[in-house]
Symmetry: C2
Subunit: 342 residues, 2 copies
């Protein structure tokens, strides 16, 4: 049951900027209220709270026509966001209701993603109060055909074209690597980070490293949001750091889909095994091995036949399945297995 230490790293090997600012050794020398202030040794910090602007940001994902999509506002330039108000009992409840009223579809999955509060997020503001963004990741079933007043959805590969490896190396990868290598200037440390994040020089591609790849490109000045004057502009830009938040959401979703049956939150009520596989492939940006995919899904008894078949495609009709929600959710999630129990 207990499998201590799966694979290495996680906090090591240079974490992303906003997750652990190893790069900002300079910041340690800055005026630091947590240090400059004479701390009462055994009291921790004092109990006064600071004031801040607070907002909610949602990364809402769906899959339509084998393409992963994200809900946007402002012509695709921003993620939906709103003020954080004080009358909610729960952030989750309010957010869920709002999303359902906007999309017309229930949100099957919603969880907190990350709270962004670094002061270099919006360099313009020099006001004392800082902006805090509490972001959430949500999964929505295939939305209705876009009509008037419908929220906008954009394929997320518009923003991260290099994340789609379903048809092999994506177009533009060569230029990205060229830009990164130029920035690295044969610095072995930087070259190693590039190899690691983009699976170069014999290292495997790791679909989870969405954020690391974005941060690397950001550092290298390949991202317009970085404020670079003449950035080559890989992928479609977004307002502020919304693209970073989206990258965080995609990374979380790709990691989560491996140990929790979240993909069903995006599927319609009944679906074929190939539709399910295509959805997962869209989310992780990879092609999967069909026979093994099928084996894994049904040996875990996640689904059951509806008894019907579909004749949409040209070949042999496929059986339709439905997610066994009640059964799956009721049974003991053994969780990630620990190594050994005595």
């Amino acid at each position: 049951m207990v499998r201590v230490y799966g694979s290495p790293s996680g906090m090591g090997g240079r974490a992303p900027r906003h997750l652990d600012a190893t790069a900002s050794a300079a910041a340690r020398l800055d005026a630091d209220p947590l240090r400059a202030k004479p701390l009462e040794k055994t009291k921790g910090w004092n109990v006064t709270t600071g004031f801040a602007h607070a907002e909610l940001i949602a990364v809402l994902a769906a899959v339509t026509g084998d393409e992963p999509r994200v809900m946007t506002v402002d012509a695709g330039k921003a993620l939906p966001s709103g003020p954080f108000e004080s009358s909610h009992r729960s952030l989750q409840v309010g957010l869920r209701d709002w999303i359902e009223s906007q999309t017309g579809h229930p949100v099957g999955f919603l969880e907190q993603l990350y709270t962004f509060a670094d002061s270099d997020r919006d360099p313009g503001s020099v006001t004392g109060a800082r902006r805090i963004s509490i972001s959430y990741l949500g999964l929505v079933r295939e939305q209705a055909a876009p009509g008037a007043g419908q929220p906008e959805w954009h394929g997320w590969h518009e923003y991260f074209p290099w994340e789609d490896r379903r048809e092999g190396d994506p177009a533009g990868l060569a230029q990205i690597l060229q830009g990164l290598r130029g920035w690295a200037e044969s610095d072995p440390d930087r070259d190693q980070r590039i190899d690691f994040a983009f699976g170069q020089n014999g290292l495997p591609w790791n679909e989870d490293l969405v954020l690391q790849r974005y941060e690397l490109m950001f550092e290298a000045g390949l991202i317009p949001e970085a404020g670079a004057p003449e950035a080559p502009a890989f992928g479609r830009p977004m307002q502020g750091d919304h693209r970073r938040i989206l990258a965080t959401g995609i990374a979380r979703l790709r990691a989560k889909i491996k140990y929790r049956p979240v993909a069903f939150e995006i599927m319609p009520d009944s679906f074929t095994l190939l539709q399910l596989q295509r959805t997962v492939e869209a989310l992780v940006g990879l092609r999967l091995h069909k026979p093994n995919f099928r084996r894994q899904v049904d040996q875990q008894e996640l689904i059951e036949e509806t008894g019907e078949t579909t004749t949409e495609a040209r070949g042999r009709p496929a059986m339709l399945f439905r997610y066994r929600r009640a059964v799956v959710e009721a049974r003991a999630l053994s969780g990630t297995r620990l190594p050994i129990k005595v």
Copy 2:
């Protein structure tokens, strides 16, 4: 590589209160600013931000003498916390510096845990501005012997005695279950939640469900913090919802230790395999199978011999090992494996 859908649930089967307030159907009927306000359809929420009090809270864990400990203030009644100030570039950096100055030991691991903002956290405050607590989980090496001015450390099983299953069923479990069953009143839904969280009626104990267990006891009125008049008081109480935050931290750590080598962030520079095992056992609250534990650790090449041995114990001297940090962090973290790649 890609292993879609490990085990079931995750968002289902009744999530903890603060993570998804399924229980508060009532809240949906409340005045809801995200709904009551006429929303511009395609604009999401508006862009104004709300104001809030913001604070940082740290869950700092260490293991001393095979006991898992947590740093506290205020005589063990609270987690260290402090105001959120606006001059930091990164929350992480400031927090790390502060912790290191307080404990005298480097923080090997620090990551954001959760942002708590539900309005039922502090029922007293009726001010407009809400309190937001951004919590972090950190791992610290064994602290120096407690002296004057040193921060306090408490064994976390003082707060959650039922989480320590290293010596079999913990004392008091029977009373807890009795209390829970009384609250359930043969409601099959509640009984099932109890079985699931506490591994009853044939279900296995899942060490990761720290938060679910706490929430269940909270709902059942077995936790003094719930405001129950004559609560039986299982485990030592804490201020406000600090115990819930601690439970969140323990749950995260127990989950993380299974797929990331975080245990080494708590170990001294050189250690024996048994010391490593005892540390992991302390954190997950279970006994592990010794031969298999050793096999897993060294077949992953996480450690290397120092060449020295120890004669602390009575029997055969054990070899001392050190964590191969550089090697482990440099190599490709294949991450959690996806099912299959073509």
